[in-house]
Amino acid sequence: MSFINFELEDFRVQAYYKKDFCEIQKEDLLGHWSILFFYPADFTFVCPTELSDLQDYYEEFKEAGCEIYSVSCDTHFVHKAWADASETIARVEYPMLADPTAKLAKMMEVYIPEEGQALRGTFIINPEGRVKAYEVHDNGIGRNASELLRKLQAAQFVAEHGDEVCPAKWKPGEETLMPSLDLVGML
């Protein structure tokens, strides 16, 4: 099944945010753009790289009116322990959601039951709580925050202007394209 336009179901989870614990629910994701950023588990090697990459772009995501929510199937206590133990994770300013029951991971179909972990899934959610773009990687394949920012901006552009636009990829000195008369049949 495709998750495009899938509306998030109700949820309520614990989170580690601003060196404290708090609760995050579906309503907190409404009214602004959000990114749900699933990763396999705390205290792993590729994950801090990805989360740190996201932190490097966090200001730009905020400027674009988007909040980032990282999610793993660890508890919020483990998130805190990871932040206490790792300088890289201590830098993270966005909320780290705890999904030990895998409610969120199962909802977005990124849960691996035999491992009790989530796949590397990224979901761009619009202010109405609907998925507008997503990617799911096998766990060995990392993601790129700048590419994610570009996708977010493209989703926001389409939301604002409609989808009847084309990206302009001009090459200097290009030969004039052969014409095609697609519309004259409308006369």
Binding site: F157, E160, H161, G162, D163, E164, V165, C166, P167, A168, K169, W170, K171, P172, E174, T176, L177, M178, P179, S180, L181, D182, L183, V184, L187
Partner: protein, 228 residues
């Protein structure tokens, strides 16, 4: 014009048949006037395209001028961009529709529609919108930047130029943005179509004719002054 033949690689025999089918619906003569430099690739290409179209049907004529040859007609167009062609009617003159660059690719649709709209009753449009346009008293210039591969772009160009045929105050350009890097930079063009209105506002993407009429009338009609 020396150096430009009435042969164009852009117009195949099959296309000629389709275009002729449209030209047969024309009711009055349409003139395609190009300002083209035969020593320049794109100028030659546009000139050839116009000559081929001008040979297809007695109600479509084409004339070419080299830069500087007819300054009166040339002054109608933006001097910063060449080549260019405009659509003219023998009695009323310039229709307000111009093409900067070569309208190949998807943009041939725009050119053929513009010729049709200039030389016939044109595509149907609601009377209430025409009445709104009749209230215009100030010029409004619509400049639509396109990419020749963009299948959305002709819809915007066609609508804007359709309006230019309905009001002497509206002019509507198609600009192939790939030919003018300085324009890409000036208007920060990353997506197409983008339509610049009187150098002040921009419309992104394809807009409904009602929306464009609203914007055009907002710029081109006198505002009512209730208390003076």
């Amino acid at each position: 014009m020396e150096g430009i033949k009435a042969e164009s690689r852009l117009i195949t025999e099959e296309l000629k048949g389709q275009i002729l089918g449209v030209f047969e619906k024309l009711e009055e003569k349409v003139e395609l006037i190009g300002i083209v430099d035969p020593g320049e690739d794109k100028g030659r290409e546009l000139g050839e395209l116009l000559l081929v179209l001008g040979n297809l049907h007695p109600l479509v004529e084409s004339r070419l001028y080299a830069p500087g040859e007819n300054t009166e007609i040339e002054s109608i167009f933006d001097p910063a961009m060449r080549p260019v062609c405009g659509l003219f009617l023998p009695e009323s003159g310039y229709t307000g529709a111009a093409f900067y660059g070569v309208p190949g690719g998807q943009e041939l649709n725009s050119l053929i529609f513009a010729i049709y709209n200039a030389g016939s009753a044109g595509q149907p449009i609601e009377k209430r919108l025409v009445k709104k346009l009749e209230k215009m008293t100030k010029p409004v210039h619509l400049r639509t930047f396109v990419s020749l591969a963009c299948h959305h772009c002709p819809k915007m160009v066609i609508t804007c130029q359709r309006l230019s045929m309905l009001s002497p105050y509206i002019s509507a350009d198609m600009v192939d943005a790939s030919l003018y890097p300085e324009m890409q930079e000036k208007y920060k063009l990353e997506r197409v179509p983008v339509t610049i209105v009187n150098e002040e506002d921009r419309m992104m993407g394809v807009k409904a004719v009602e929306t464009i009429v609203e914007i055009v009338c907002d710029k081109g009609c006198e505002k009512k002054k209730w208390f003076s």
